[in-house]
Symmetry: C2
Subunit: 209 residues, 2 copies
Amino acid sequence: MSTSSSAAFDAGRGPAEHDVRTQIIEAATAHFSHYGYDKTTVSDLAKAIGFSKAYIYKFFASKQAIGEVICTNCLAQIEGEVHAALEGVQAPPDRLRVLFTVIVEASLRLFLQDRRLYEIAVAAATDQWSSTQAYKGRIRQLIEEILKEGRASGVFERATPLEATSHAVYQVLVPYLNPVTLPHLSALHAESPTALQDLVLRSLAPQRK
Amino acid sequence: MSTSSSAAFDAGRGPAEHDVRTQIIEAATAHFSHYGYDKTTVSDLAKAIGFSKAYIYKFFASKQAIGEVICTNCLAQIEGEVHAALEGVQAPPDRLRVLFTVIVEASLRLFLQDRRLYEIAVAAATDQWSSTQAYKGRIRQLIEEILKEGRASGVFERATPLEATSHAVYQVLVPYLNPVTLPHLSALHAESPTALQDLVLRSLAPQRK
């Protein structure tokens, strides 16, 4: 597609603009997936899609801005899997198990299946892009909610401060959410996939007196 | 030192050989620390020390073999600090706390203080050098011994299999032993330095019935 024909997208504002953004993201995902994120410039990308560099910059401020959207899509897919798996699971200990199991498996699959897109995930984790920070914040929140439910129903202890204990559980999980640390831990995880969740659940058990 | 003068080291066998090895390791540590491990070749190193490349190869089969010794020395320093700190600490829960605290602090300091030597640690962790594998095995063993002592004295639960539970505790700690994963976790650790040990100790508490 040439720059002149792309002017059509600007005619109607909102939805057309949304379409162009989607088109750029799809083309960029395919391009990064083939040539890698690190080595690709916005010029390379523009040439490959058939847009001018200036036209791409109308929609995205930088290569990182494009990477952020791809990263957000990837994290949204992981979160989507987690929430789908949690649907209908009521007991807080089971919910915690499902969260640990699904998020680790989905992260392993999505971060590590595509070595080229993996570069985006690494840049996002290393430079602490806002998409990954927001994602981690939501997971931390989800853990706190599950703990709250468990305390309310009496299956989890209530002796420790909720926030500190949620933080600790999140800290056990977080090395498995990060694409840089994950490959260094996947062998240990494979050796015993429920070891960490067993340990965490024992730490949350109420002390019978 | 020139290659001709270094022949003196070969006169007496054992201890002289040991001296040359030490001399090469010390010079290599200084050189890597200044120029980086990744970019330095054995030729660069030989030139800097004033030995011939062939002479260095008499003592070390490869650059990695030199890196392995430097890595072993670094890990021995961390372990030395851990064992010194454990001396005189009797109660198994306290021993576990000391292990967690000292090993994380020493690793942060030693792996991250020197960005150039850090490259060696990264190569060691990424390519799973035998020095790091052996080190991790000894830490795993130490955790199992502390758990065993705690079970014998009744301060830790005995309901779970010792080996599986030791594995789980080790799995909580291991992201902090690896120089690649450590920088991604240090902020979270600083936020709450005892959160993980508190969680682990609660998971080990005997259930009172």
